[in-house]
Symmetry: D3
Subunit: 336 residues, 6 copies
């Protein structure tokens, strides 16, 4: 039996960010252990200091009762289920473990990984609908057939495409990030074609939708977060994306003049050798794809920084220094 | 009396590119002297070898009759009016000066500078209409008023804005180039706002239309081509554009939170310090403006390269190496 | 009533660096709270661990009596007045708060900000005298008038010029730093003119005195230290300095050939695009200003490093690695 | 009938470098037209100035008899067969075309392309023997089988591998260059393994032999010299080499742990992103391959420069500046 | 009396890495004090928390008995001898100082510095033998004599050459590192000469053995680790190595054509100006030396990383990010 | 017999720049042959077109009488003595060789090399006087003695020091350039010490005078211009200057603390590794020397550009683009 989403959502354990609603209540939570430290006071009594986390925040916890037992049972990185009382201590929330409540270490499958990784804000179905509309709008039969071969008929591909992020840290670093990034880039390319009439719209949209698909091999989403795979480190999405498209253009018999230009777009989309493309863009379409793709990656990060900083402090004028983009960002609200 | 454009066009002297229609005819032309060389044959007779040019091409000419007189009268770079016969020699067109036709060196004002500088393909009126529509669509009253102060009421500004190029060599290097570039960038920014809803559209379009206006001080269009002015070398459009906008935001009393963000967009639009912006973009709008502006500059150059190369040889697969963009471009026609 | 400086100095509360003279005495201090931590021992008694700082150093403090009251009253970053006893603990000075002495959080204006920010070693009056002598030595009437318009008649400018630093971290990062840097650079430029006779001394000195004046908009000195303003982040001193000079050259009707060269010096003084100048120096004077300005900035930092390291340990041979200059410095005393 | 090599060699037309042996003789030559210019003397007689070339040098030629006919028959870049007399004029050899000898423009297939492109000094058979010995020495059955699949059984691959150069200009820019470079790199890798015992010799040699095989798609050797193909410009040998190996490892069922490391070596062999590798070497073997491959490329160029310069002038101490390597090379003979 | 190595090894105090064999035993150790902290519990009892280290690892220690006495006696960085009990606490080894065992601070000479610095894995005698064999194989009498002047007759040089490292942090950062690096590079150069016959083998091997000898002035090995000397910071091994060789080539009357090429190899061996060579390699031998030297430095680091990581966790797939080489390394065992 | 300078100057052959005073006269000149071309007119008569040059300019020449004889006698690069008539042809001066005047190729020693290389504008004696005054002003006896050992007692050094340039192309590229550069840098350093009181003036001046002395080994002045020597290419002035000073500090027993700091200044004076210093400046004096030395080098070039451009065209506003400094320079005269 598969429960409806609403039911699951209603009866799930609260997230850390929701515990403010439960002060002085006792309740059960599912969290990841971020750190632990066994302490001892003067007269030899042991207690266990813990930090818990899920995708919504972190939480200080203390176990006064089963410190040594739980210290040996639990490792940093474990996902656990336990009960405790939510209290306020030293101005912050704290979770005091109950005396008679065991700490249960959960195995993969016994908890939803969604508790520990961020997701795209928009639903994946909505994003996939956008992609399908874009494919439907393509006139060139070879490119349309090729795209459908990926987005209509390749179940294994689709499953991964819908779930992987488009980055581990810098941008679109959440479940569904690849789909969201691909769709946004394709939409922007579509807009750009309205201004530059002599761009090949079909080619540009096909390139936009396929440019990052190699990333389905690069990332692994676990309770530990987004990790880069061995395949991702040794080969990388530029080359594995090329290979995925090459296999399908052969299968679908896409004419070589089309397929070569499309494959060129895949491998040149980072724009410069030093950014990891083995060749630079040498067609207008490849050039536009690179520029638009780059803009979406950076904007996704900028908006994420603004959102996170203003959540923390709505009065803040400037973000902290972002080492990735090499600057601080101005946070003041926009014009009305 | 100001003649209608059609009349002027009809009765003007032919361009060099049109001389193929006049083989073996005698006619009058207005050209620039690109090079000259006084020659002497064995028996002491002098003749004058010349190369002429206008914006449509170059032309070999020879003066067998008044070589020494014309050699001392004419300097390289002069604009001249003269008559001759169009012949074919050694597989190319050649212009043989007539014996009894004097060479007249024209002064500025005696010829249309349009013969010697390239122009935007689209009419300047069409471009200005686009700009006006964009201004009309702006909702923020301060920004709309500010833009109208430039584009409606500042005649001196408008005259220059409509005529200067947006570059001396690399991109939009023709009369009307600044207006065309500004309009295209603003339209692309408008499109981008449809995808990223939390961009401040009014601010972005205002920044797009104003970002390069300092260029009216940077370039001087003469019969010698596009030259950089002393002001352009010593100050540059980034700073002089800032100053032009600053003077008007003070006059129009634009609130400081708006004007500072707008001025930041002007000076940060080159995107990186090493590309000449004294500060990098620190708002999403400044970042988008930089990316879009950069894309339009590069695409304008890429399309110009493709057009020029295919004009020369429609069968060519690859452009020559372009030192500015550091690559060759693929010229093959697009998909049907 | 304004007390004489000597009186103020005599009766002021001691600085942290002076507390070694008061061991085992009780006294009152004014300090900034750098960190605090509420602690609890086994039997539930709370105590408050604090770190204090002023411009002369840092100090460990402990409050055994009013821990919770003071913890809720005081925030990190507050300037406080309190009384305690100076003791030696674990080899270092410690300040034990007294039981019956309240901690008073001071507001801006209730304390002298001078306690918390460093100052130039030389008096600001001495520096301003040097600047005036340099202005007096200028022969070109336009430039002399322009400089006097800033340094004689613009009170609001002068007040800021005398107090702001010339940097937040790297060099001249203290009150009076801008004035000191400007004067030193102008003096060095004066010396250089004795060797290179064909430099325009008047122009060079004027450029030296004005090159960094935009920094009066870039920094804000508070008890938190030197902060970069929003204006400093979004516009920066290169462009705002240009604007300040441009406004005054218009007002004073400085001839354009002079003013353009002067303005060029302001915006090109960082020397290279990647160091934030939108144009590179294109006159000998602009080039010299850049080189001398750069040398003074670096030497100011090098001397500050040497001084600070040798203060800490007069026997040290080598400074720690300086990430800003990318090297260690040799500290050994110079030849006698 | 296929003639033996010796016969072909004996009866072939002489190369330009051999014409010094035929002064004042009449003979037939096969050359490429490098330039031509139709001239006219005072009394209207036309003559045709030509420059010929083959892989051994260039030659001035003149046609006094059929200037206009031949001018319209021959284009620059054509390969022609013609007869003339070898003379010495103005200190250099000159070829005077005979009156009654026609100029025949040859089509591809009517001449040996070998006349116009340089070849490796060592015979291709010798090089292939070295490669085979290296393959025989490999112990890992998967890698040995994979290599034999390329070097024993893939005739189409082998034909191209033996003939293409390893570069268009910089190094190994001659027929057989790829084979020579691959063999040399593999031998050096073999040597290196004797010093570093924990390198995986089989993997390293396999990577060395396969690292550049994608170059069979990058270059086209024609009478015009070595040209980069569209495939070479748009995809490049790094990615196409990866693809070639990937297809065969799948076919040969090479275990994934081996094949991934091998494929990583192919795509990382340029060593740095800015040199065109989409990933940097992350195994010791990939690192060694990059270093050795780089060394052989550079040394091949250095030795070619030394040889060419000393051929021109055996007394020369220093080569001309080499823009590719950014220096001059010392040419003095080595120690005895 | 000098004890045999085996005896010294047998009766020495255990290293930290060996303490796992002594759990719950009391024993004497010689360690360096890495950190210390005097603590006090509620009722005023003091205890001293310590961290010890030697070249094999670090160790937590606690002194419950003589905390204040030992706190004032011992400084961070001291080498001490003391006795205690090895216990397991909080999952890690801990060393509890005994009540009646004094802590003795050792002076230089009272302990073996070998306890605190790493050594080459291979014996220095084995390495020196390799070097001698290489020298014996040299045919050029001048170079052989020169090398013997260093490696046979200069005792003071030899003593330092055998003990200094070839780097402080990045590679060969252990006692004997310089000798090991020099020998390995010379052997690789020897191998390379078998492939490139026209390299001058004698010159190359001489350069390889001498290229880094200036490092005997750069490093000082103390119990604190490897430190850079003032000579190393202000002059550096490139220049001081040049000087050392120059003095000896003069003494040995090496002909100038040989010595200049040899000295060029010393100063150009870093390969690029930005890597610290004042000139770039301009002979094939100098170029090869640079490449091989660079490869050995990097490989030494890569193998050290692999070894250390797999020691820590034999199941690990990927090393941590190495900031020096800018990447992670794949750790999976090689093919069988 | 050595003639007084005035006599030599009076009776010397005129320079090319002086020929305007001899139009239509016959006279004898000494020039270098820059190019030659043997021509033939229709009726078979040969004539020889020549270009001559000396340090003051270039000159077109024609030999109508002994074309073939002189063509075979003279090579490009030869210095010749010949007679001819100065005429004006095609608006420029031309030198027509006389029928009965032979062309004499001169050997080294038969002409003054001064005709072909530029010299410092100031007399070398004046420059050496400045240097002596600076040495006299030094208080530290070791440094004074060391400098006198070079500048008073080392005749062989002094002879070279006075004549070599400080650069082949970029700056101080004329006879006496090294002395002029050294003196100017030392004077500027002297000035700088008046502002920064804690600089070690003696050390700084000694470093300034010695920093570039290695250049006496780098350049060779011949009639072909300034050439870099093999020593200059393979070792370079940074290292050879270090060696020269090291030899003398040993001889003069300069204490090591002084000599090490001085030697550090020599090798670090290029300021950055990528500019050829093997170590960066790590003392304030080394840092100042680098900055001042750099400034003088650049200013010398800038002033040379301005002078040369304004000589050519006093009305020019902007110099041509200078590839070495990467910009154009503003040429407008300075303020009065």
């Amino acid at each position: 039996m598969k429960l409806p989403k609403e039911i699951i959502e209603k009866y799930r354990e609260p997230f850390i960010s929701e515990l403010g609603n439960y002060i002085n209540s006792e309740l059960e939570i599912i969290v990841k252990v971020k750190s632990k430290r066994l302490m001892e006071n003067k007269n030899g009594q042991k207690y266990l200091l813990l930090t818990f986390e899920d995708k919504t925040g972190i939480l200080r916890a203390i176990d006064w009762f089963n410190a040594e037992t739980n210290d040996s049972k639990v490792n940093v990185g474990n996902i656990i289920r336990t009960s405790g009382k939510v209290v306020v201590y030293d101005g912050r929330l704290q979770f005091n473990l109950l005396q008679d409540s065991p700490v249960i270490v959960l195995k993969e499958g016994e908890y939803s990984i969604d508790r520990f990784v961020m997701e795209a804000k928009r639903s994946i179905d909505e994003i996939m609908d956008e992609i399908k509309k874009l494919i439907d709008s393509i006139k060139n039969v070879h490119l349309k057939r090729l795209l459908n071969e990926f987005f209509e008929r390749d179940e294994s591909f689709l499953k991964k495409f819908k779930s992987v992020p488009a980055g581990a840290k810098v941008h679109h670093n959440y479940v569904g990030g690849l789909a969201e990034h691909s769709s946004t880039v394709a939409q922007l390319c579509d807009s750009v074609c309205k201004t530059y009439k002599n761009l090949d719209r079909d080619l540009l949209i096909a390139g936009a939708l396929l440019h990052d698909i190699g990333k389905i091999n690069d990332y692994k989403v676990t309770s530990k977060g987004i990790e880069i795979t061995t395949q991702g480190e040794l080969i990388g999405h530029i080359v594995s994306g090329y290979e995925m498209v090459k296999v399908k253009v052969k299968k679908m018999k896409v004419p070589e003049d089309i397929s070569t230009k499309l494959l060129h777009m895949i491998i040149s989309h980072h724009g410069e050798l030093e950014w990891g493309s083995p060749v630079v863009p040498k067609t207008p379409e490849a050039y536009v794809l690179h520029m638009i793709e780059n803009m979406d990656s950076k904007l996704n990060r900028i908006f994420a920084i603004k959102e996170k900083e203003l959540e923390g402090n709505p009065e803040k004028d400037w973000s902290d220094y972002d080492p990735n983009l090499g600057r601080r960002f101005y946070l003041k609200h926009e014009l009305d």
